[in-house]
Symmetry: D2
Subunit: 499 residues, 4 copies
Amino acid sequence: MADLTVDDVAPKSAVADDFYDDYGDTLREECGVFGIYGHPDAAAITALGLHALQHRGQEAAGITTYDGSRFHSERRLGLVSDAFSDGDAIKRLPGHIAVGHVRYSTTGETILRNVQPLFAELDGGGFAIAHNGNLTNGLTLRRQLIRDGAICQSTSDTEVMLHLVARSKRPRFTERFVDALRSIEGAYAFVGLTNKKLVGARDPLGIRPLVLGELDGHPILTSETCALDIIGARHVRDIEPGEVIVFSSDKVETLRPFGSVPPRPCIFEYIYFARPDSVVGGRSVYQVRKTMGMQLAAEAPADADLVVPVPDSGVPAAIGFSQASGLPYELGIIRNHYVGRTFIQPTQSVRDQGVRMKHSANRAVVEGKRIVLIDDSLVRGTTSVKIVRMMREAGAREVHFRISSPPITHPDYYGIDTPDRDKLLAATHDLEGMRRYIGADSLAFLSIDGIYKSMGYEGRDPVCPQFTDHCFTGEYPTPLTDREGEVSPRQLSLLAEAS
Amino acid sequence: MADLTVDDVAPKSAVADDFYDDYGDTLREECGVFGIYGHPDAAAITALGLHALQHRGQEAAGITTYDGSRFHSERRLGLVSDAFSDGDAIKRLPGHIAVGHVRYSTTGETILRNVQPLFAELDGGGFAIAHNGNLTNGLTLRRQLIRDGAICQSTSDTEVMLHLVARSKRPRFTERFVDALRSIEGAYAFVGLTNKKLVGARDPLGIRPLVLGELDGHPILTSETCALDIIGARHVRDIEPGEVIVFSSDKVETLRPFGSVPPRPCIFEYIYFARPDSVVGGRSVYQVRKTMGMQLAAEAPADADLVVPVPDSGVPAAIGFSQASGLPYELGIIRNHYVGRTFIQPTQSVRDQGVRMKHSANRAVVEGKRIVLIDDSLVRGTTSVKIVRMMREAGAREVHFRISSPPITHPDYYGIDTPDRDKLLAATHDLEGMRRYIGADSLAFLSIDGIYKSMGYEGRDPVCPQFTDHCFTGEYPTPLTDREGEVSPRQLSLLAEAS
Amino acid sequence: MADLTVDDVAPKSAVADDFYDDYGDTLREECGVFGIYGHPDAAAITALGLHALQHRGQEAAGITTYDGSRFHSERRLGLVSDAFSDGDAIKRLPGHIAVGHVRYSTTGETILRNVQPLFAELDGGGFAIAHNGNLTNGLTLRRQLIRDGAICQSTSDTEVMLHLVARSKRPRFTERFVDALRSIEGAYAFVGLTNKKLVGARDPLGIRPLVLGELDGHPILTSETCALDIIGARHVRDIEPGEVIVFSSDKVETLRPFGSVPPRPCIFEYIYFARPDSVVGGRSVYQVRKTMGMQLAAEAPADADLVVPVPDSGVPAAIGFSQASGLPYELGIIRNHYVGRTFIQPTQSVRDQGVRMKHSANRAVVEGKRIVLIDDSLVRGTTSVKIVRMMREAGAREVHFRISSPPITHPDYYGIDTPDRDKLLAATHDLEGMRRYIGADSLAFLSIDGIYKSMGYEGRDPVCPQFTDHCFTGEYPTPLTDREGEVSPRQLSLLAEAS
Amino acid sequence: MADLTVDDVAPKSAVADDFYDDYGDTLREECGVFGIYGHPDAAAITALGLHALQHRGQEAAGITTYDGSRFHSERRLGLVSDAFSDGDAIKRLPGHIAVGHVRYSTTGETILRNVQPLFAELDGGGFAIAHNGNLTNGLTLRRQLIRDGAICQSTSDTEVMLHLVARSKRPRFTERFVDALRSIEGAYAFVGLTNKKLVGARDPLGIRPLVLGELDGHPILTSETCALDIIGARHVRDIEPGEVIVFSSDKVETLRPFGSVPPRPCIFEYIYFARPDSVVGGRSVYQVRKTMGMQLAAEAPADADLVVPVPDSGVPAAIGFSQASGLPYELGIIRNHYVGRTFIQPTQSVRDQGVRMKHSANRAVVEGKRIVLIDDSLVRGTTSVKIVRMMREAGAREVHFRISSPPITHPDYYGIDTPDRDKLLAATHDLEGMRRYIGADSLAFLSIDGIYKSMGYEGRDPVCPQFTDHCFTGEYPTPLTDREGEVSPRQLSLLAEAS
């Protein structure tokens, strides 16, 4: 899901600039979803599943259950372990069916009304839905709905789905749900809940992931296999691109309303988002990343003494690079795992020396050495600048920066929070310009074909690319209706509401 | 406004029984509203106005403003002085137009989604509305709307108005608002806000109050004059029954879409709800109550030594009774003004002695005396039982209970929280039965004509009663569509959500 | 008890000036105490008792219990009903003996470390103490203790008692406690707790009150009888001035270490502090106040139409004045009982019109009338100025101000929070000057002999006054060692610590 | 510092058993300290320093400053980044001198009164102190002090120091401080603050670490060099064992009141506690740990396919083991960095399958493989059991467990939180017993001489061991007075107080 009002909102004042300096230089997935059908501990299991998906969204979490007579919902800002670890929250969520959601908000507007699952009371009963992805015609649909008398309570594109289902004239819920899916474009993994059914859907290209699991005979739908592992559930299979699956008490229905199109899952799940212990599309994420590091070592070797990962994102690729190159793997950078809120900064003089909140140099390792720094991606480059400088101040003799993915030149519209194009370092600098900007002795990226080779292909199929890779290539796999129609979020008279 | 799901909800577990023992034996207004147009401090003034209306609703409060480009809303559980006294909340509410609301919830479901003002984004822009009253066809309309594909996010009847306005096909906002009013039945005082207008409306019979004030040339709409007094605003006039008033930058429009019908304001505003320093319908509430006490002394004198008010509700009538009877007025009961949350109770033996959380006897006054206890109304009678017993334990020789209004025999459906009929003492007991139940030596009520005399009439006009008085007479002034259509709130598959 | 550092501390910034405008014009007692011995619900009963004493201190509350093997303590900022109404707090306070305290802090330093009961581990076991009053040699003793190697953790004078008991060389606890009492001067009602005993002590002159009650055979020590009434406990007798009382499992010990001196209780308990339903020194507080109003009507009659109390402080005296003068008693001023935190104020223009947060005029009563305003005391006069102006703006034709106590010309050092002398209106203005300052048509005070007459005496005994009345007369009943020795609190290197 | 009442306190009920299952199987340092003299941003810099020391204590943090006229203190439960990142807390801590403390509590009694720095007002002014370590005669001294009339407000052994300084009869502060040091035994790194001085002291054997840094000419005392690195401060030197250092405006004084004894720093700082990027006693902690892993590979090789670290504690040793053995280093276990509070657990059936809150298996890596698991120490063994089982369930063919330190057979009394002896796996099982208990195919520990070799020695000097290593050897370097004198904490009548 995505907020429809990204441009309209000032950054949360409580979050200092420095925070964005540190974190603004990454890509961020916006959501993870989880649903389970028929289990007596549905809410408790969903909370654990969401906890395992916490890397997909840290700003808010929600769970909705149905107990046989009514729906219950708890939606909170903050981490799953803060909001849902206590018995109280779980006790307020009775029932055998549950859907849950973790969210990373792209804006300052993390208000409770936007936290998912969203709920609507339909003619036939209640319906709750959780969404990972982004609809590329969400604003266009919302504008039509409002013209038609609909009332939108959230600023989330996901609410459009509720209205479409509510307005469908088809008699059965599943038909209405499919009706609604036919109207939307973009990327989505939905899990939904009615008083009878657990429903899941994945977009026709399979841009966002969704897997089917099973625990004691009860089906689970979730974004990643790591959410199955945490509770000891079995990974049955991936939900297929374009598949709609509906669980009810006496049957499982599978529909394919979009027929069969070549799938094109998002390559960034492998490069960055998914947890390394997850299996996505049949591939171990850890092994893919390690292979990218090995491929990178082959494509762009460095004459150096040791390999240093940028923790934690660069670790698997650095292990691969080390194994392929024979250069020893060393922890030249230590990460402080207690980084939480941003500290106010002391005076300018101290600030100028650079405060190392998140990373610190392990001088004993890097002093006097030629190092290969490995990271998984380069977005704005601001963090890389700091890290290279930190390595040099710790005495590194040479710093060779290697990125285990290609240059990011285009923004995403499918649920990944990317900076505007003019903030993407690779969109505005050539390779040498980037090298100078980050201050490295050398800089190299994994090639686009290198990525595909790491995935087990000969290379990228230019006619029908195997993955959604527009961030590297500019080739968007779906229409971008909102963007083309120039629907500006500024036209909305929005309600700003604190939680 | 009212929750549509009264029956469906268990009492809030955090509130102990004792709380309901004390408080369940009163009537409670459900809301107060306030709106101001064109003032640079719109939110701060609204907060003060709501604070003056706090007696009309203590469970939640909200303010919505428009700042020329977007709407801002803050809605909180708790008292106005807790939620809106700090600069932070007010700073988040910029703008020159504001509407606000205090709410007393009739159910355990005081969830943030139900706290008003409610907001919707319409085709032409945002619209926020606050409501005092209750729609007697709210559930019926809601059912039709949901069948028609509407999504209801709150369980409040007020949301129906948002949908009706959103779905009206008329081009101008005012026309759409009047369109919506034509569909609803019951009691209401609305104040609403668009990006251009402040709008107010009072139901055709004027059941709920709404007054027009003025501060430095800026118009104010609010439930009671005490909300004008707190900020030094001038009371211009009452909004007339059936009047719709619309303020915009260049004009004031007044509409009377319902023509002219004899007004019939709710008598309970005089007896119980309004603050004694308010002027309602041209009458001082304090003077009306005092006159009721004087009338009561004439109708039902008592051979006693002194007059004791049940604080604070019985104070004005007790002053009137004392003046008319010549019996001295004395504080025989002291109220603890720090009563907040309910305490957990010690062991049964202590509990049996009765814990006096709210009231305590002033033994020095009542010991050995024959007292006349004065209260303004008798609902369940549970508090009266305790107070009579407390007076006897403090040594009162005789206790004569006098009520400055008639017996309540019928529930309300216009925004007053009354118990079910079988819980109303006067609906199930005759006078002698009531006297025995509460344990008084004598018991008397003000007659229905006595009420009308206290209001300046000869008596009640049986053909066209001057006030809404169904609680005493069973004569409801409007259709009760939901009740007749037997729309049960249990048919709704509700979402239970903690705030 | 009192903070030792009054002068040294800036006012709490969170509390706006306006708050002090409203409230700074009153006297404030600093504390209430409660202790119970041998009851299975000791903590729950203590919480209820403290709740009944809430008028004696609203800023913090604490309870300490002993469960047979260890002590438990909960100390919180805020009201008793917020801090101790939930089962959780009470569950953390097991045991059959409890002492509790409510506190009003004279300074911004309401930090948790200063909240009572204070606790120390002595050689023979733990000791907790709660204190109402103020030691006039507290700073002097503290300085000596620190010179002698003592560590003071609070800034409260009560801690001095802990050190004195700890350092006494006597073998038995009771002897050590009496030893400590011999060192201190000033006003005190102590209740204390050891692992075997509940102990109480009242200063030799009985300046601060302490009463003995009994519940189901278990003794209670507390500041006022209203704390007995709330739980249905019996008032046995007052603890006598100079009496030390010790309850243990097998006996009650009463000691009189100071022999017999004529008692001199504080007159302000009757005039202002005690709750009207309390019985202090055998007199009903309500009746005393009413008698003061009657006496005032005799001493200073007014040619007027009605009597209006300043709520709630002036109510009993106004009833007395009305009965004695025959002028009708009317609620010309309405008090908003929801006053909590101070609101931020809108623009100057609104502020100039005067925001009526706490009191509002009942125009229907006062318009065109000559009124007698009754209040119980006059401190700075700032509130009186506002109230007189409010009455005139509401149309009062004449405003005659009557105060049911004499002019306050001297500050207190015995536990009442009075402004510095130069802030006391009566210390800097003569009667006519005061009248002009508050803007009344006439002003009169009850005479000092009038006070004593209201208490049942012929008048004040100038040789041996029956009450502590230095605020009116300047005659302090004890040495003021700290003041004479010029021990400045500024010499202390204080620790400022937020709670 | 340490609580004196370890035995007396039940585990915090809010923390579920599962938490202790996970975390109870580690050693935990109890504290970190930081102090700075003369810097305008003293508090902000201290907050950053404490943040870098967060691994040494996560339960509470405190900072005390002196601003030239008074002391300020803020002490909070929770993480530094939660408590001290906002401007508000820092604004309340003005001044150029600051000391700070992070604390891990060994008991459920993390109450605010125990949070350091502790403060006392001495005859000459205030004194604040923060302590890392534990006094082995703390209870004995406390008992003597209480007998002598001292009042202890905390249950921390650190408070003993305050009393000893307060009671010293020496005229100058430094002399009094040294006087106090002469009375205490055990392990300590103190930083303290007066209105003129910053003072530091390290115990005669240097058991606990303390380093001297410098920022813009202002001296810093802190537990580890990583707290210097975060703010860009320079590491000047380690404070020497037995050294007392005093900074004032015009000079630096160094005293050696204990003469010269062979130092014996705690070996566990190298094995477990210090952050890998810190330099302790001139050695890089990371390099030492890596060397231990290399030494372990030499002493106890394994016939396996790959090396898997137990994250994060086993990482450096696993890198060393991998490099020495030639076996590839792979992330076979993934750590969830969002682990916060413990979740309530679903039904037994789910629980039996094992919920992987903290660690999850990376099946793709370990399936079908023979793995060497590396961890830094083995305490109770409960986590090891789970991890071995998790590896087998993920398909590992063989699991060889290697620990890069010797078996822990004796508890610590110097500030490390160790289980009682009977809970230490190595104290109750021989090697084969341990192997069976944890379920590994083989198990080996680094030898005691291997540890010394990794530190650059030939081996352990049995006459005068170079390190404090009693956990492995039972040879305690100081008297254990409290233990020998059988001072039971149960003799103390403690006060249990919630924060």
